[in-house]
Symmetry: C2
Subunit: 244 residues, 2 copies
């Protein structure tokens, strides 16, 4: 499994993705699920992927390869919306290429993958899209400023309680890390390291993915404060009246 | 969907279940998912159910009906383990009765349901079992003192962070309510009212289900304190060092 989250706020965007890929419990590997496409100063696009690894890797390979060609590609489309259409088409292309007409060996294999595409092209505001395995997509709004893909349920309540469009990037980053910590404590299929990327609105160059490992000092600080804080908070909640 | 949780601690047991049942978004109903079987002073058994409503209702009906017969039933089995075997057998009986040999109208219907069985029979300690749709089951231990069925992921991290075998019943009850609140904030298929039941160890009579409704004053207090507390806690977590 996988867990990825992306937030588009007034101040900019925050992305985070784990790097565990598993096909059964004895076949666990580490794969990056965060990919950057940039034209420094002009555009900065981020893709996060969850689902069939063969499909998502092929989509990324084709998208990268084509940036060197003459057709339409991620480094020359005129808007983030056009970029989302292009990624959706590429996803459909791979799924239709790889899905056999009749299931191999009688087994149904899910070739689908979900993607999050976020970023900014000069002249536009930052935009964020969630692409479904069918290649269609939805866009984040002020009311719904974040998307998750993969193993999303464990880490959703904390985001729902904290995040809104006006949250600071710092708060969003902390919320994303706690959301990952909650997920990894409850589910083995999501694992370290976590790739993270914070992009202030309007910043179209000089960003880099920061990889949070298990020994990351800041993460350990957050985990310790959070665990202690939650336990204290729960212990100090009002007690039930005897009548109940 | 459904969400149920049950905890077996040193001091006793806590049960909670929602009451929303849905088959599609336009067919939402309220059904109790918590059932008591008691012989005051001698035994007290609690069943929680999730999954196919026709199956779980039939299982409960058969279990209740048979307490008036001469065979083995929940009010005369000699141990909680025997009770779990009996419930598992009844579940298998209903699923095998209702599952057609060939899918009706070409549609695959899931006739399965999951159950949690907890309680105490005089002479034994309180015991807690999680029954799978296949009728087999596992038992809670000191290391794993709680079970969830249904839409369990949203509400799992908070329990994992707080609960252990030595937690007080009061803390367990608060944790269960917050776990429900987290689930209901993030998922529409789990809904009010919440049936709750707290049973101190050794108490084999005079317990009653307490129904928490949306207007429950204590729940509203908890929600307000929790939301405020979580936001304050997140805001006061250490900030990232500039280097990161």
């Amino acid at each position: 499994m996988t867990y990825c989250v992306a937030m588009r706020l007034r101040d900019g965007m925050v992305f985070a993705s784990d790097s565990r890929t598993n096909a059964g419990f004895d076949q666990i590997s580490t794969f990056r699920k965060m990919f950057l496409f940039q034209q420094p100063g002009e555009r900065l696009l981020v893709l996060l992927s969850a689902g069939n690894l063969a499909t998502s890797q092929s989509v990324i390979s084709l998208l990268e390869e084509r940036t060197h060609g003459n057709g339409q590609h991620l480094l020359n489309v005129s808007s983030m919306y056009e970029a989302a259409v292009l990624v959706g088409n590429t996803l459909r292309e791979v799924v239709s290429r790889d899905t056999p007409e009749t299931p191999t060996q009688g087994q149904h294999v899910d070739f689908g993958c979900s993607l999050i595409l976020g970023g900014q092209i000069a002249g536009e505001q930052p935009r964020l899209f969630h692409l479904y395995p069918e290649g269609n997509f939805i866009e984040a709004t002020e009311e719904t400023p974040y998307f998750q893909i993969g193993e999303s349920k464990y880490g959703k309540p904390i985001i729902d309680r904290i995040l809104n469009y006006d949250s600071s990037l710092e708060l969003a980053y902390k919320t994303a890390l706690i959301s990952f910590d909650s997920t990894m404590k409850s589910n083995l299929s999501v694992g370290m390291p976590i790739d993270t990327l914070t992009i202030p609105a309007g910043k179209l160059s000089d960003v880099s993915i920061y990889q949070v490992t298990e020994n990351d000092r800041y993460l350990q600080q957050l985990q310790a404060h959070w665990t202690q804080g939650i336990q204290t908070l729960m212990a100090t909640l009002p007690a039930r009246e005897p009548a109940a």
